[in-house]
Structure formats: C-alpha cells, structure tokens
C-alpha cells in the first residue's frame, strides 16, 4: 500500500462507512468514491502507470466495491477513473513521447519506464485535473438532467412514477414551475417509498394521487408516460430498479406508453446481466408477513425481493446528464467511459 498514513485512514473510513451503510444512495457514494480516488492518485508515488493502476484497482477499488457490493456505482467510478488514467497516459505519450504515435499499452509503459520520474510528474497533474472535472460533472448531474425537463413534460399530462427517486423528484418539480400536470404515484409496498414521493411532490404544488400497486394496470390507459428512476443501469440497457418497476414497465408496454428513465451516467455499469438474480437481494420478509401473525411463519416461504430487473425492450428513453439516449446507444457510452480490462474489479 503506497501512501501516507492519513490516506490509509481516509480509505479505511470510507470503506467502513460504506459497509455500515452510512453512505447510501448512488450519488453520494459516487462523489465520495471519486474524491477519495483523487486523493489516492495525487498522494501515490508512481513511476510506471502500471503501479498507479494497480493501486487504484486492486488496493483501493476492490476494497470499496466489496464494502457495498450491491452499490454498482462504486465500481462504475473506479472503472471511470482507471479509464481516465489510461486515456491521459495514452494521449500524453502520443504527444509528449517519442512520437511513434502508437497507442498500445506496451509502448506507453516502455516510454514511461525509461524517463520515468519525469513522465510521471508531468502526467500526474493532468490526471488529477481530469479527475476534478469528473467530480464537477458528478456534482452537476442533477442540474443537467432537470434542464431537460421542459422538453419532455407538457401541460395536462398524466405521469406515472414508481418509488422514490431524487432525480425524478427534481425533474418533476422543475417542470411544475411552468407546466400544469398531474402525477400518479404507485405506493411500492413494502418500502412505501411512493408515499414519501407523493408527499414531497404535493408539497411542491403538483397534483398527486397515490395508488396501490394493484391498480397500476387499471389506470395505465389514462397515463401519458411513465417516468422513473433506477438504482443501476446495466451494459445491455437493462435496469436494476426498485421492486415493482418491472410491473409498471410491462404494463406501460402493453398500453404502448413510453417509459422514460432519469439517471445520471454514473449509474451506468459495464456489467452484463447473464443471470437476472445476481443483482437482486431478498430482504427481510417482516413487512410482508410479520412474526406476530403466529406459527404460520414456519410452514411458509416468504418472498421479498428488493430490486427488480427491467429488460431493455421495456425502456424507451434514458435522460442522462449528457442528454437523452435510447437503450441501444448505451454501448457507445460504455466504450467511451470504461475499459474492458476493468470489469473484473
């Protein structure tokens, strides 16, 4: 572990906070991870880029990912940082190196391996400034998304949403400043996030109605569009979203209503869902069937999945901080932001 003691302490602190779920929510987690990695990059002494990559990926990155394995945003940020590092080195070697112009990994390493401390010294601030740009982008995620609100919401529309997403909340509140529309919120039992969302929206003056999950299909014919947030976006365009989202998206598809997902790019993960269940968690069934209902508990299996996998065919549009994209475009974003070597963190 190359780094001063307080860097160690900082890393330990974040790992512990992640493990104890004191940092929750993809956005907070992403920003904290990014800031920590910036510290790591600036504090680490490296001569060959390989060293830096090893530090970021294995020493720090892997520990962070293990602390909260279901929070895919951690892995996403680590991957992005690695990609940034490699990109910077590549362009640096291209312009400042021997001028052969080859972009291969080996030539880059060789170049820096020779004139080492010089190369590292010059590349380091560039990398750090890139990281700072990335952190700024993360902090402005919401602003960039809600700027697009006016284009997508019109007057007298009925919009359906599921669960509680900070992004969608801000999106709708921004649109409500100039447009008059109503929102149907599905209550998403057993987390009742829908109740919180409805309270918050109604306080902003939006005409909100809370419906139980069972009525989603019944009212879908009157809904104009479905806007929802998500926990993570996978490489094929599929969503890991709050439980109940699959129902809403399928019902919307059957009624041919567009499903719009508001998410920052930091939630886009290079992982592919070979198995739907690998990203899901079955949490305590107490809200479904509590202990004080007797000894029926022993004889019955209770299911309470926390997440839902929504397949990419059900999603019409992703509204991200870089604009609106269809699910079919996501592979380009993944190519630009992540390296294929890093998906095994």
């Amino acid at each position: 572990m190359t780094g001063p003691r307080d860097l160690n302490a900082q890393i330990e602190s974040l790992v512990n906070r992640l493990r104890r779920r004191q940092v929750v929510g993809s956005w907070c987690v992403s920003i904290e991870t990014a800031m920590l990695l910036r510290q790591v990059v600036s504090a680490t002494r490296w001569n060959q880029v390989e060293t830096l990559i090893k530090v970021v990926k294995e020493d720090v990155g892997r520990r962070l990912v293990m602390a909260q394995p279901r929070e895919l945003a951690v892995g996403n940020i680590v991957c992005r940082v690695l990609r940034l590092i490699r990109e910077k080195i590549r362009t640096f070697s291209f312009y400042g190196g021997s001028g052969t112009g080859t972009n291969t990994q080996s030539s880059m390493i060789n170049l820096l391996g020779d004139g080492s401390p010089m190369g590292a010294k010059r590349a380091s601030p560039l990398i750090i400034s890139e990281l700072q740009e990335m952190i700024n982008e993360l902090e402005n995620t919401y602003v960039n998304i809600i700027d697009q609100a006016m284009e997508h919401i019109h007057s007298n529309e009925i919009i359906m949403t599921v669960g509680k997403s900070r992004t969608v909340e801000m999106f709708l509140k921004t649109a409500a400043k100039k447009r008059k529309f109503s929102v149907l919120v599905a209550e998403t039992f057993p987390t009742y996030l829908g109740h919180e969302m409805a309270l918050s929206l109604s306080e902003a003056g939006i005409d909100t109605t809370v419906i139980s999950d069972s009525a989603i299909f019944a009212v879908m014919s009157r809904v104009n569009k479905v806007i929802m947030g998500t926990h993570a976006v996978l490489a094929n365009g599929g969503l890991i979203s709050v439980s109940g989202a699959q129902m809403v998206a399928t019902a919307a598809k059957h009624h041919s209503k567009p499903v719009v997902v508001c998410t920052g790019l930091y939630k886009l993960s290079p992982l592919y869902p070979y198995d739907e269940d690998s990203f899901n968690d079955l949490v305590a069934p107490d809200p479904v069937f509590s202990f004080n209902e007797g000894d029926l508990i022993d004889k019955v299996t209770l299911l309470n999945p926390y997440y839902d996998y929504v397949s990419p065919e059900l999603v019409s549009l992703f509204i991200t901080n870089t604009g609106g994209h269809p699910p079919s475009y996501l592979y380009r974003l993944i190519n630009e932001n992540y390296d294929p070597d890093d998906t095994d963190i």
Partner: protein
Amino acid sequence: MDPVKKTAKELKAERRALQERQRAEKAARAAGNAAVPAKKPASGSGASTTVGSTSATSTTATPLSETAGSTKTTDSKQRHSLTKEINSKQVDMFSHLEITKGANTGLAPKEIHPAILVLGLQFSEFKICGANARCIAALTAFQKVIQDYKTPEGMGNAIRHLKWEISTIDIEMSDDEAKKLLCEKIDNFIRDSITVADRVIVEYGLQKIQDGDVILTYARSSVVQQLLLEAHTKGIKFKVIIIDSRPRLEGKKLLNCLVNAGINCTYAFLHAVGFAMRDVSKVFLGAHAFMSNGALYSRVGTAMVAMMAKEKNIPVIICCETYKFTDKVQLDSFVMNEQGNPNDIVNISTTLAPKPGLLSEWLNKPDLKLLNLLYDLTPSKYITTVITEVGMIPCTSVPVILREYKPMVQ
C-alpha cells in the same frame, strides 16, 4: 338476529314506501341514469335471473348511502364533514364513481328489515368478501325478509306488483305457499348456480393440475381454494404461490387455509410477481363477473398478474360460475368500478392493528389525493381458458353461454 314483529299499519307503510322507491328506481333506470352505485354487479346480474331482487337490493342500498350523509346526530355530523372532505378529494378520472362512505345503520329508515341492515354493514366493512360469499349472504338475507313478511289487508294490487318484481307466482297461491316457493327457489339457485357449480368446476379443474405443477393464484377466490384443496386431497403433488396485495390482504386467509391443509405454499406481494413468476407453470384466478366481450372483471391487481403471466407464456385459467356472466360489455377499468375508502391506503400495517403511515395528514394537503380502487378489467387476450360448470370454454364464448343457457338458469 330476531325478526321484529310489526303491526299491520307499519307493514302497510313499509310496503308503500318500498313500492314508491321501486317506482322511482324504475323511473330513474328508464331515464337512462346509470349512476346507481353498482355495488354488486356479479350478484346483481345473477340474482336478477331467478329471484329478480336487484331492485330490492339497490333500493335498500341507496337509503343506506343517502342517510349516511344526513345530519341527525353529532356522530353523523362528523361523518358528514369527513365525507365532504373526502368527496372534494375525488380523483378526476374516477369522479363518475362515488366513494363508498360506509353504512350508518342508526339513520336507516325503520322499514328496512334488520337482516338487510346487517348485510349492508357487513358488505361496507368487507366482512364478507368475494362474489360467491356476497351472493349467498344476500340471498339468505332475502329469504329471511320473505319469511318474516306478512301481507297487510286490502293491498292486493300493491302486493301483486311486488310479487311480480320477485318472480311470476300465481296470485291464488296462499302466502305460506308463496313464501315457501320463493325460499325454495332461492335455495335452489344457491345450490345449482353456486355450490354444485363449484363442485363441477373443481372436477374440471382437477384435470388441469398435474404432479410437479407450480400454481400461482392471486388474492382469494373461493373456487380456486376449493380446487386446490381437492387436488391436494387427491394426492397430486404441487406447490402454490399466493400473491397478495394491499389494502385488502385477502391472500392471507387463503394462505391460512392452504397451509392448514398441508399444501406447500409461498407467499409474496404483488411487487414480487415478476420475481415469483419465473418458476410458475399455471396461473389460476377467480372472477367477480365476466363481461360479454370476454373481459374479466375481478379484484384489482388481477389484470397485472394475468399480463405478467402472458408475458412469460404461462397459461392463465379462470374459474368462474355461469351466474357471473353478464350481458354488459366493458373496455377498461374506468367505466364501471368501485372506489373503496381512501384511508385504507394510509394504514401501512399488514396485520389487524392499524398503523398510520406518512400519509395520515393527507386530507390537509391540498394537492394530495388517494385512490383505492376495488376492481379491474382483464382484457380477453390475457386469458387462456375459463372453467365453468358447463365446461371449459375460451373467454370469447361467454355471450354464447349466456344465450344458450340463460333460460335454463332461470
């Protein structure tokens, strides 16, 4: 409940009042007013074939809901202001359906037979759930009314009119005989259209359950419950997944019943239906009514389950008696539905003890509304087959059955 003895004069007034209401009811219906609270579309359509007491049902129902709004006592004053508040929070899409305000028997007119009052109370508090149970309870209550009925003197015409409403009975017949006949007719109806029909449906349904099946069902249908219990008794090895939903939580009763019989059960809520659906081989659902365009009118959430099953190409089998078939056609869940008490959504506990959640102050928030729908419509394309007592039919054959068998059902 003991039948209250009435004097001849009171009975006279009672019959006159009933007559007036029926006439007004008929006039309203003739004027094309379809806004009568359709509390029991299933039992209404079934009962009209033999007993024909739909008019009696709706007329006794309207006084209950009307008088709930009157202000005779302080308690009802409170209730009145509360219902006013709830009414002002009507969801626009469903403004054509009034929210059931709950019965207040203290204000019901004295002419109503207590058995009907009890029935109304039980219905409004959902103590009796499910189309079959409600139908049987209503018919049994009518039997009581008929048994306690005493013909007042000198009202031959009115009586003739009343009897015509119920069925075509010979006027020369004595009261006792007529009563017996009517009660018998009601008994026969219950036996033929519900009890025996259920047994026949179970027989047909057993052919559809094999060893190793994983059966998914939603909320609680009495027929499906009987079918599963019978299949278990026959020794077929299968598993059941029960999907339940708020706020009614009817699936819990089914769970209790099946687990006590020893069936291997899994219990989940509607949000988990995508997750639970992957192992399922068949879906069995119950019905409240079946429309003539092949659409299923059932507990809210049924459409969702049927749609998810169809997505995964799992067969959806509906168990439905023919008395639930109706001439009506319906395209969506808006045209005819029922709104329950919105405060049921506020209570977030899943046990009997209510636990108010975040929305307990919803009445004070001007922009917040709650919608508690009770029924929804499942389009015919999601339904694979319907098991009735006349056989297994595709859902598009419902109008055919109505045409062929309606004379027999009467």
